[in-house]
Amino acid sequence: MDNFPLLSLITFLPLVGAGFILLVRGEDEVVKRNARSVALWTSLITFLLSILLWINFDTTTAAFQFEERAGWIPAFNISYHLGVDGISMLFVLLTTLLTPVCVLASWESITGRVKEYMVAFLVMETMMVGMFSSLDILVFYVFFEGTLLPMFLIIGVWGGPNRVYAAFKFFLYTLAGSVLMLLAILAMYYAAGTTDMPALMAHRFAPAMQTWLWLAFFASFAVKVPMWPFHTWLPDAHVEAPTAGSVILAGVLLKFGAYGFLRFSLPMFPDASVQFTPFIFSLSIVAVIYTSLVALAQEDMKKLIAYSSVAHMGFVTVGTFTLTLQGIEGAIYQMLSHGVVSAALFLIVGVVYDRMHSRDIATYGGLVHRMPAYALAFMLFMLASVGLPGTGGFIGEFLVLVGAFQVNTWVAALTAIGVILGAVYMLYLYRRVIFGKLTKDSLKDIFDLSPREVAVFAPLVVVVLWMGIYPVPFLDVMDASVVNLIDRFEAARAVTATLAGR
């Protein structure tokens, strides 16, 4: 298996599927049917291949595995370099898990331009997997930015009434952040002479330069995470995007930012990271508390979940910058569980939206009487989002708080308020939608989950419970890499300290 380009295969297989769909011709109905099944099978096969990745993953080493390298622009020392370590491997799996779920979730709700829709999702998958597995910073940037194209079209073509505004806001916000990162990448290339990420991690940038580079990367990642106050694109994009678009946005795209912090900011700019830690903590705490309160006031279900995402990502940034083993592993764990849980919650909203075409909480109430299975699934994911022990959300939040306590009690205490507020707004939402008497006439003949929808939720339920009950397999994967990240960080700081002391 050593020379088999498994990562490239996982990355580009969806693109092959997309090309195949483009070639489909014939009757309208036939084309739609074929496009759907090609997309489903391609993404399922991709998922199975990525399981191979996990099976063959060596958890004892922090080195990059499944490495592939090919010359791209030899004159510039830029190469097509792929590989995963304990930090990125699970995100590849998250992506490949969510894509077939998205395809299945859009099976009936998307009726116009099905062919283009499926192509957009498969291209999206290629870009996302490529982003998590690239080990060359230029390749990374190409995939990172490449996600904008399909997402712009997904929101703009298949979105809600205000989709144009949302699509533009999403695109321009993200682009503005990332062009600054591009300049930083160029400056790094100029300083270090390479775009290879392992080499850049070993390179020591001058402290003054680190500050500027860190800020440029921050501009891009803070928009992507999103951190308060750069989050305003998110509620718009989430609300207007079609259900599957929200799933990908919340499930995977939001992880780009925090992943970027772990992959670039911490290992490459350690001094600047320490310098900016209080800044990150402050923004994160504001995000956790403020957006939780905002979520409490929402009348639109999707908007509520969107704001809850900002709050949860606040946990992730706190955990990342605690620079403790528990904090960082908690942050990664929180990202994975949030990826599954928020995706599931958007799907939950999608289920009733498909039936009633309304996202207003006021439209619903008493759904438990007509939709018991739905209420059960909703409850599970709602509790996972709150962080109930036994679900994936608990492990992540717990580890983050443990990490935060080691660094600063106040940060931990203030972040913990977010846990309480999270319970408040999620339970409140659940009560209003599910419980109570079924009084509204329009809801009298609403039907429960269809077999297809059960198939959508089943894998997510399994993953959420598994992550909550037996987290060891996940933590094992990331352990070596996180320890290595912290060791190198400490070493780099020690060098700086001796230089400063001299």
């Binding site: 030899p74 699509a167 695109f171 503005a176 300049l183 160029l186």
Partner: protein, 491 residues
Amino acid sequence: MPIAQVPNLMPALPEIFLACAAMALLMLGVFQKPGPEEEIKTARLISYLSVTTLVLALLLVLTVSGERLLAFGGMFVVDPFAMFFKVLALIASATAIVISRQYLEIQDIARFEFPVLIVLATLGMMMMISANDLIALYLGLELQSLCLYVVAAFQKDDARSTEAGLKYFVLGALASGMLLYGCSLVYGFTGTTGFEGLATQFHGAAGKSPSVGLVIGIVFILAGLAFKVSAVPFHMWTPDVYEGAPTPVTAFFSVAPKIAAIALFVRVMVGPFGDLVAQWQQIVIFISIASMLLGAFAAINQHNIKRLMAYSSIGHVGFALIGLAVGDAVGVRAILVYMAIYLFMTIGTFTCILCMRRNNRMVEEIDDLAGFSKSHPMVALAMAVFMFSMAGIPPLAGFFGKFYIFLAAIEAQLYTLAIIGVLSSVVAAFYYLRIIKVMYFDELTDSLDKPIGREMAAVLVGTGLVVLLFFGFLAPVVSGAEGAAAALFAG
């Protein structure tokens, strides 16, 4: 001892061939049977022959050796730099003729003079690219410009077209006058017009400040050249001429003459005046920033797609000039890559614009594209690819153009310029996205004509694939550009 030696004209073989071929085509056209039916046939014949001529000239350019060769007493130079730009200019002209045929026939202005004028203009461009003397520079520039003035007004029954031609002529003449005045000042203060002579005079004078008259001369030359590449503040003619001229002419204007003028700009600035970089770098930086900002902001409110493309091209010139502001081999390499990519994006975009017909009449409002993705899925997809590429989104070609430009700026530590550049590219992304929005998000109102024609489809597929798959053959293009840029700095 022979009394007169036959000079070696081999370096100029492509130009000589093109000149003779243009004359022959003209004769061939004149001696055809008259009559409206025959006229279209003649126009078609001459179009095909012109494209063939340009392709042959392209092959000739490639056969001339890669070394630096001089001809006509040192007034004419052939080096890899010239070859690179000549290839681009010839591709641009040939495709412009290919995509113009259908339009000219629909507008009932299919005349054989059109392709011949394009060939002659191309000849002028190639002379500009190879100019190694202020006089040769002016000769090439004027040969090109005169042909352009005529083709701008080619739709002679249309008020907008004639206005465009006249406007272009008056302002172009003014710019040529400024350029010539600058040349005369430079000659007056240095006593030579040859680029090599000028370079030797300024060599070693880098530390000292040159005389004021010379600086004024250089500034005048710069102004004239800025006019030709339509950089701010000498851009005023561009939107009007682009909007008024027949669309294939606009397509031609936005690529071939621009490529030639950029080549000339680069050669003049880094060649003879290379050692005076301290005198002109500030000006180029200003021109570059102003062009990028104006190109980004002024295009936002445009409704006419040709006018929008005019502002877009101003913006692109601003980006390319960043490379010149850097002023070294890295910067020039970036310009070469950028212009190569710009050529394919722009030709592709204009081919899409030429497909915008309703009931056999051209339409050019952006709103006419509403629902284009439903009526013409493949053309709309191509257009979307070109627009995303122009906005500089990876993995499309336009991104790599900007990548090399900003890499050069960062290496030269022109951070402010780079930051203004990337931010204006975000603003510019807005109006490129707007076109995609109209095509994909808006509902189909009134469908545009189908089919688009075979040659248009071929050009679209070709340029689209180049833009889409550019990352695959990045390495050869970059190394070609590297060689070309190095040649300019070797001498």
